[in-house]
Point group: C2
Chain length 139, copies 2
């Protein structure tokens, strides 16, 4: 990734303060993933129309959950995951994408470590329940 | 990708007719890209909360344009593209993502063929202008 002119200039021209957390620049997903090791703790790496663009490392079984108000986007970057639903399992490898429709119970499972791109509206609890959700970190 | 139980069953249980164009199943982006060869003609491969998830093959220079009402999401899957803006160029390779903020003029350029994942609200004209936009095809 190369940014050939100053990020600060563009941000200033758009009235964006340096304190804003999401930079207006290219995002290398592998580089972002290399900055942390915890499983099931998505990191916010960008934003799109009020949605958080997140990378996550997963291994093992997540909890069964659903999101009543939003679809749930998964794109596998490395490794393999299963999206378990009550009546099916969808297996995903690198370059494979799946959207769990809103309201559908699901549980992501990975036998080995896998890396996934997630998209969710800002504020969506990752477990479907604000009481048990992990805090969303921006990197 | 493996769907281990019938797609039709789930669709029926959710009240979805077989005529609906977006299947509830995993999406292999490379397989979708292999089905067409035209440049700058995005194919809709899924949907997420009213957004179209699209793959596109690009080569050469697109037109300068902007979207006043939506950010513009790019994730490079293969090859390299430059996102030219009036005061900078952001160069992207595989696994690199960039979101052009709404209202910012930009022009994607690729010296060699590149493959890109795009996300835009349904109905967004790819040129920023419905009069010149390419029809959005679902595959």
């Amino acid at each position: 990734m190369t940014v050939r002119s100053g990020d600060a200039n563009m941000r200033a021209s758009r009235g964006i303060s340096d304190q804003e957390q999401i930079p207006v620049q290219a995002i290398n997903l592998a580089a972002k993933l290399a900055t942390f090791s915890e499983y099931w703790q998505p990191r916010v790496v960008g934003q799109f129309n009020g949605n958080d663009l997140m990378v996550v490392k997963v291994k093992g079984e997540f909890v069964w959950h659903k999101h009543d108000d939003t679809d749930d986007f998964f794109l596998v970057l490395n490794g393999r995951i299963d999206i378990q639903m009550r009546d099916r399992i969808v297996a995903l490898g690198p370059g494979e994408m799946f959207v769990v429709p809103k309201g559908v119970e699901h549980r992501p499972v990975a036998v080995e470590e896998a890396h996934v791109l997630l998209i969710e509206p800002q504020g969506t609890p990752n477990t479907g329940d604000a009481k048990t959700a992990v805090a969303r970190k921006v990197i």
